[in-house]
Point group: C2
DNA sequence: GAGTGGTCTAGACCACACG
DNA sequence: GTGTGGTCTAGACCACTCA
């Protein structure tokens, strides 16, 4: 039987699986089960809360999916050893981000044409050297201040109409989301200098540190696009948060 | 009705909820349900797969948690509109990361002492100005090459024994994971120059672009620690991937 | 009222780990 | 063998939305 000394305002109103889940979460938060400690079994929680096993199972399964506990069949449930921390980093569409701040987004298109892919680029796009690719170079501004230089190659097979889009009013990111079946992407984030041309387009000193995101976006079978996004370090940073 | 209990490890003896889930995932991947489209109801899936409603419910609920579908009570289940893309960025413990590459991790402690917090720092830690805080400055090396300069302040109330740890053999990150009840954290990632002192400790040109992560880690009620992690841009980058 | 998802139950069979 | 988690069932009641 549970002690009644713990204050919990609308405890009774919550769904049973949520009551179990929150009981466990507060225990974890309070350090009642340090990392690696054995937590109550399903059977114990069943009798403690007077609910069915499916219900406590759901609570525990969700905690497991959220990374808060580790479950081992035949052994038990353990408080998660938070050795790796993963977080949700939002890489939003820049136009959306700027407009959500109530500022004005502008884009100037410095290049938009088909090209022949050199060997290295073709390899990264999964195409034969010399294949036709679409190339755009766009500078995005927030209230007039250059914020991102976007150098992008697109696989024509995935977005045949890409070059016809009006990139002063729709970002390539948004266009590709709407016209392709995005499946997954990889990216790297690094700090380096811009190329001289990028520095000129961004209006910065070539020595200024820049935050550079390189992103490769794929369908299940093919590479859609390869983008290099250069941001002046003094004007842009990424942020995020996580809960374990 | 087969009552045989012989396990057949090879074949499509997949759990029913996984069969339903994978059916839906491949349909989404193939574009069978474009973003926003109405997907089969639970009842339809029940009769189609010959499983109980709880089973298809679990499949759908997991897809919802993974952000692949949107469910509205009384209306139906819809293919998710992938408007914002969020990704899992792993910020691993540096020692673990280095060792997983098969390299040697070394740490040199350049500072480890209690201090009085100035006003700004105290504010960020949620303490009164002049409060005692722990301060460490540690350089981490991979096979001898400086990779990170870690400047960290710790709230003594959360980790009283912090300064007694041997930071040449356990990273502050790992120590704090083991000794505190981490609840959440915020971070920013930016590109900038190191301070002259950091540049000297890292053995780099002060003009070199650096990837700088500032992380604030909290329990539910208090700030545990504030860390500034400076990485030479030429030696370190972050990477990750996401699936929608 | 009909259809949808949200949730719970009481029991069941299984695979697994450990003593 | 005992205890653990992993999963499934067949039904049930509810809240919600929409016609």
């Amino acid at each position: 039987m549970a002690l009644r000394t713990l204050p919990d305002p609308d405890f009774a109103a919550l769904a049973p699986f949520l009551r179990v889940k929150q009981f466990l979460m507060s225990g974890l938060e309070a350090g009642r089960w340090p990392a690696g400690a054995l937590m109550p079994s399903e059977a114990e929680l069943v009798s403690q809360f007077g609910v069915s096993r499916m219900t406590v199972n759901r609570a525990l399964r969700e905690l497991q999916l959220e990374g808060l506990v580790q479950r081992i069949q035949g052994v038990g449930t353990f408080a998660a050893a938070l050795h790796r921390v993963s977080s949700t980093l939002t890489l939003r569409d820049l136009q959306e981000e700027i407009e959500s701040r109530g500022h004005r987004h502008q884009a100037s298109v410095h290049l938009s044409r088909p090209e022949r892919a050199a060997k290295g680029l073709a390899g990264q796009l999964g195409l034969a050297p010399g294949s036709r690719v679409f190339h755009t170079l766009i500078v995005h501004r927030e209230d007039g201040l250059p914020l991102q230089c976007e150098d992008r190659f697109v696989n024509p097979a995935c977005a045949p109409g890409y070059l016809d889009a009006d990139f002063e009013h729709i970002t390539p990111t948004r266009y590709l989301f709407q016209h392709t079946a995005l499946w997954q992407a990889q990216y790297t984030i690094e700090s380096a200098r811009a190329t001289p041309r990028e520095a000129r387009l961004l209006g910065i000193d070539p020595a200024e540190p820049c935050l550079i995101v390189v992103r490769r976006t794929c369908t299940r079978d093919a590479v859609i696009t390869l983008a290099r996004l250069v941001h002046p370090g003094s004007r842009y940073h990424l942020s995020g948060e996580f809960k374990p």
